[in-house]
């Protein structure tokens, strides 16, 4: 039958499209055509994110300025997905040459022997002189075992956003208890009062939430509360859990109070929906990454402010975000080219451009001095809060098996925030489970 023959022909056509196309891609990847070094760059952002375009522009400029290197950006979705992709690529022996993943993954990357130290490159660029142009607080998560393994790039700290209009609306009540409606709370005590006053209920329904402690990355936000309570670190050297500290318990108790006793925060608002909820205008304050700034700026039609996160014993937040890494098992030429790329992306101009577009910290101090950055900061004074907060920032927790730790961390906080589990039980479980995971390695 002719049709059957036709069928087979179509089939062959399709297979030729499906097969060789990718083989050709692979060949291109490994054979440097005419001396061009090709680099795959795995990057954290959804394909649809507005940041994908920004990143495209930056990579394009790099490719133009470096005719012998061609970087191919691959967008891998959020931090979890990107790490999964990078891990699978490394373990299957086919790593991307250069990538950005969440800073807490460093020990896992070292565990699977996937990256090279950057010391020799940094040395070549002038050592301290080179690193001193970056905020030093950011290197905390890039260092381990006496080496520097990552170059800070897409970095943030969580900040406190507040709705000035709502503050003004509640001015009288706030003044009545001695609070200033023109500024954000500075201490946990004040935070609680503000949140309580701003929360507005009608017929048992909450019309206005005092604040949002978002879900999804509540582990990161909570980490800040332990630092504000004076804890130096939650996990020491990737080995010892300090979740049993009294300071953790107090922070858990405070969260329990905010979410379950005065019910000032909606339970577990998904991370991606949190800025939208804040932008809708009926939320007083929001704990969120500085990366949310562009969205709030664009969408809110009220006056908003940002501030340091309130202190208890002291000010403190974890740093967050992602660093550049260079893969092991690839040729030295590729590694050198990858370093060129990293250097370019963290240069003053690029760091400043990235910061303006993304809301992340301008990691390069020289970038802050550029005229276009000065102009931008004048226009949006909010934008410098996250960087200023670096003075009081701690390194984020790092450990092998971080994904597992994060999973149980989030799961237990979820239960606490929904009132399913009291602070003491939460602490007990967290400490036990985290220490168990750490002991495996």
């Amino acid at each position: 039958m002719k049709r059957f023959l036709g069928l087979s022909i179509v089939l062959i056509l399709i297979l030729s499209l499906a097969g060789p196309l990718t083989v050709a891609e692979d060949l291109q990847r490994y054979k440097d055509v005419e001396g061009t070094v090709k680099l795959d760059f795995y990057f954290v952002v959804g394909v649809a994110g507005p940041l994908a375009t920004v990143m495209d522009n930056m990579v394009e400029q790099f490719n133009e300025e470096h005719p012998n290197i061609k970087v191919n950006p691959v967008y891998c979705g959020n931090y979890n997905d990107t790490m999964a992709k990078v891990q699978s690529a490394i373990l299957s022996g086919n790593p991307p040459e250069v990538f950005v993943v969440e800073i807490s993954e460093l020990y896992t990357l070292l565990g699977i022997d996937g990256i090279i130290p950057l010391d020799k490159y940094i040395e070549k660029e002038g050592g301290e002189e080179f690193t001193s142009q970056y905020f030093q607080a950011l290197y905390g998560n890039a260092k381990a075992k006496g080496h520097i393994w990552g170059q800070p790039f897409q970095r943030s700290t969580p900040i406190l956003y507040y709705n000035k209009d709502l503050f003004a609306k509640n001015a009288e009540e706030l003044r009545a208890v001695g609070l200033d409606p023109n500024r954000a709370p500075r201490t946990w005590f004040e935070l609680e009062r503000y949140a309580e006053i701003l929360t507005e209920r009608k017929n048992g329904k909450t019309k206005t939430w005092g604040l949002i402690l978002p879900g999804g990355w509540n582990d990161w936000i909570f980490e800040g509360f332990t630092y504000q309570n004076g804890l130096p670190t939650l996990i020491e050297d990737g080995e010892v859990s300090h979740f049993d500290s009294l300071k953790v318990r107090q922070a858990l108790k405070f969260w329990y109070k905010l979410t379950n006793e005065i019910k000032a925060s909606p339970p577990l608002k998904p991370w991606t929906e949190t800025p939208m909820a804040f932008n809708a205008g009926n939320v007083g304050m929001m704990y969120y990454s500085t990366g949310g700034l562009p969205l709030v700026r664009k969408q809110s039609d009220f006056d908003f402010g940002v501030a340091f996160q309130p202190m208890h014993v002291e000010y403190g937040v974890p740093v967050g975000g992602g660093d550049f890494h260079i893969s092991k098992g690839i040729s030295p030429e590729k590694q050198d080219a990858a370093w060129e790329f990293i250097k370019f992306m963290t240069s003053p101009e690029m760091a400043a451009y990235w910061s303006r577009e993304s809301g992340y910290i301008c990691i390069n101090k020289k970038g802050l001095e550029l005229p276009e950055m000065q102009e931008y900061l004048e226009k949006y004074p909010n934008a410098s809060v996250a960087a200023d907060q670096l003075q009081v920032a701690h390194s984020k927790i790092m450990a092998p098996g971080f994904q597992e730790i994060r999973k149980t961390f989030v799961a237990n906080l979820d239960k606490l925030m929904q009132g399913k589990q009291g602070p003491i039980e939460t602490q007990k479980k967290l400490h036990k489970e985290v220490q168990n995971i750490l002991d495996q390695y």
């Binding site: 999964a84 809708a280 929904q418």
Partner: protein, 297 residues
Amino acid sequence: MLSVLKPGKNKFLTIVLFLLPSLAFLGLFTYYPIISSFHLSFFRSDPFTPKPIFVGFQNYIEFFHNPVFWQVITNNVIFAVATIIPTMLLALFFAILIDEVVVKSFFRGALFLPKVVPYAALAMIWVFLYEPSIGPINRFLDLLGLPSIGWLGSSEYSLLAIIITMIWRNFGYYMLIYLAGLQNISRDLYDSARVDGASWWKRHLHVTIPLLGPSTLFVFVVSIIQSFKAFTQVQLMTRGGPGYSSSILIYYTYEFAFKFWKMGKASTLTSIMILMLIFLVILAFGIYGRRITYEMR
């Protein structure tokens, strides 16, 4: 050359030649994987143990002592039961209704349409419907004076929220299966039941439902398998959360494999999943077995 494949000649060669391609695919992507996952389930294999170490039943024992594992299994059972029963009842109910009215095609089409929606799209649509502050469902509840529900963000409701989406998508399909089954039932049976004075309910209870046994078996088996496949909604709507409240076995396995990269433990979970599936399917055929054999031939 093709003349060697004449009927009656070289029977053995024909059989081998005709079966080999498909058997190769089955072997490579179904049976070898099953064997290899049972094999690896006895090893410790994670990012820090690149060469798997034999640990015997340790992976199994660790799971059996892990409350999270049991929560996930419980979720899976709840998920299966709470999707299968309402879906089957709705499907049966609407099949009978449509069977009894004259204008069929619009209703059939409308109720079936959700089945055409890919799960990824379904997740997106329902995430919006469930949105707690501006989403339509909570606004509807508000209209009725009922309290808002946290849906995807609450431990009590997250699994239910996913179950509802499963029912929405699938009952129309099972309705079609039942409709097909109804066509095989002789009208005479109803007529004689009616002569006996049986009411609408009685007629269906005593005539329709027993005779739809084969369809029910099919629906049951397909839904069981479905409940082990429901990854997309979990990943896109709740990521198994809050906590582990909407984690089901397939999602839990995915996390061990592709998030924690613990291939040994992920293989253990895969093996457990295979055993559960086989057990359930055998059970289903055991219950209905005899009645179905005639139908399946």
